[in-house]
């Protein structure tokens, strides 16, 4: 279970976002909708331990990750969180398998890589360089890398942002299918994808929007 309690995030340009308290239950899927700049991606980054809030706590299974050291956050992220970035964060000169096996640097077991790729219809492309893949295929590689370690939490930041609706919908279908039983939090601005998630959160209502700090 993830609890967001009294969290506020200030940015370098002196703007800030205050978040209302939220709870994400384990094993459920959530879609965060909202206008650009309302703090959707920032929330995901704080849950993942990439960013730290100025105040408040982010409790994951009872542990306040906001108060943890960067080293602890890194360790938690690599072990428990599968993060799918909007721009994929793939090394384009490397192959699909190399991009997944990069997790081995931190001792992550990637032995399920082939079965995960198969479930995403990407097994035949495992030895292809990422630069030779289409946007939809790259997104699937990013999903495969995020879920290969069987994380408890999957965070997806605009997973369909770079794809057309048809491909985006197919990706979301696969993502929700493959994430069954795990906590899935996805950020999107496309409300047509809501039907694939257990809960829909309107982030415009959950934050006061950006304001000058």
């Amino acid at each position: 279970m993830i609890k967001i309690i009294g969290v506020s995030k200030k940015f370098k340009n002196e703007t800030a976002i205050d978040y209302k308290d939220m709870t994400f239950e384990s094993g459920k899927s959530y879609i965060l909708l909202g206008a650009s700049g309302c703090g959707k991606s920032t929330l995901l980054n704080m849950i993942a331990g990439i960013l730290s809030p100025e105040k408040g706590s982010i409790e994951i299974d009872g542990k306040d990750m906001a108060a943890a050291s960067q080293k602890e956050k890194d360790l938690f992220r690599i072990k428990n969180i599968g993060y799918i970035f909007q721009d994929f964060k793939l090394i384009t000169e490397m192959t699909v398998m190399d991009n997944i096996n990069i997790l081995k640097l931190e001792g992550v077991d990637t032995s399920k890589a082939e079965s995960v790729l198969e479930s995403l219809d990407m097994l035949d492309k495992k030895n292809k360089k990422v630069k030779n893949l289409s946007g939809g295929e790259r997104q699937r590689v990013a999903i495969a890398r995020a879920i290969v370690k069987s994380p408890d939490i999957i965070l997806a930041d605009e997973p369909t942002g770079n794809l057309n609706f048809a491909i985006g919908e197919a990706v979301i279908k696969q993502l929700t299918e493959i994430s069954k039983g795990k906590t899935l939090i996805a950020v999107t601005h496309d409300d047509r994808l809501c039907k694939y998630f257990d809960y829909v959160i309107d982030m415009n209502e959950m934050t006061g929007g950006r304001y000058d700090a």
């Binding site: 690599i78 990069i102 640097l105 890398r145």
Partner: protein, 396 residues
Amino acid sequence: MLKFALKNMAIKKVQVILIIVSIIISASVGVLAFNISSQVSDGITNNAGYYSLIVGPAGSKTQLAMNTMYFTEEPLGTIPYSVYTELKNNDKVVKAIPYAMADNYNGNSVVGTTPAFLEGKELSDGALFAENKTCQAVVGARVAKENGLKVGDTIHTSHSAIEGDKHEKGIVVVGILEESYTSFDRVVFTQIETLWEMHEHEGDEGDGHDHDSHGVCAILINTLNPTYAVQLASEYDGKIITHDEEAFTLQAVEPMEVVRGVLDEADDTKYIVFVLCAIILIMNIIVISIITLLNMYHSAKEISLMRLIGISMKKINLLYLIQNSLIGLVSTLLAFGASRLCLIFMSDYVSSMGVVLDIGKVYLPEILILLGIFLISVIPTIICTFVMAKRDSLAE
């Protein structure tokens, strides 16, 4: 980790190859400059140390030493053969070898001596000339190659380069020296009596010489111990002897001392070489540091990506340390190989100074230069990753 480091290097192969090539060029030039200057200096001194004393006519000590050891310059003149006989019978002397230089064969010097002068030299064909005969020659490898000579051929030496100035009497090639890349490769060696015969008994077949009526250009001597060399030097240096009512002033030089003197006089050259080596090394440091820093700068995006997916800075540091260590190691090893390859190519040029470059000769400073260059290629990585770890890109 190593496997991933290799894969990461493979995807940047052009960049990696450029780094390696630039390190190889700068490192091998530094190592090569040091090696050659050291080997030439050592080689000249070692050659000089082969004989403990040279006795010859008064004049330039350097000319006498260089003429007898490297066959360069003209002989100073002659001294009576009786000096050789006297020295050969001296109790302090282990070996005395008469030496004369006259004539040439197609531009190559002709040296008259005894077979003892060629002791230790390997022959590619034939045998050494006989001590009790005349008109036999052992030719240097280059002389044989350039003139198409083989054992059994007859050569005609000449006083000068003028066509038709050749001696009628021929000299039979009985042996060819193995190529040694030294000045020996360009000389024709024959009995000293052959030279006398050519100049005084032109056309005669006689082999019974009145040795004492002839002269030699120098006498190469090895003494029982170094003290005897000093004693003989003081005894013979400046000594005046009379032969056939003619006075001859002798000089005795210790070749090692002469060569050291020459090298000391060339101190400025040595200084320039060391200054050049220092400049090359400083350039190495700057070039390699810049290359490594640029490499790390270009990797910043990659590092940021790895941090986002959860790879710790410790692992990233280790990854880049392995990569740059591999680049440094491969570059320094190849630089060492390249410097040895250059030594092979430079060998011919240096052999004209009478020095054979030993490809296997490694000096401690060379190892230190290579070790330094290896460290230069690794230390900036450590600094960069340390700085990046301090200023974690995640926060940005």
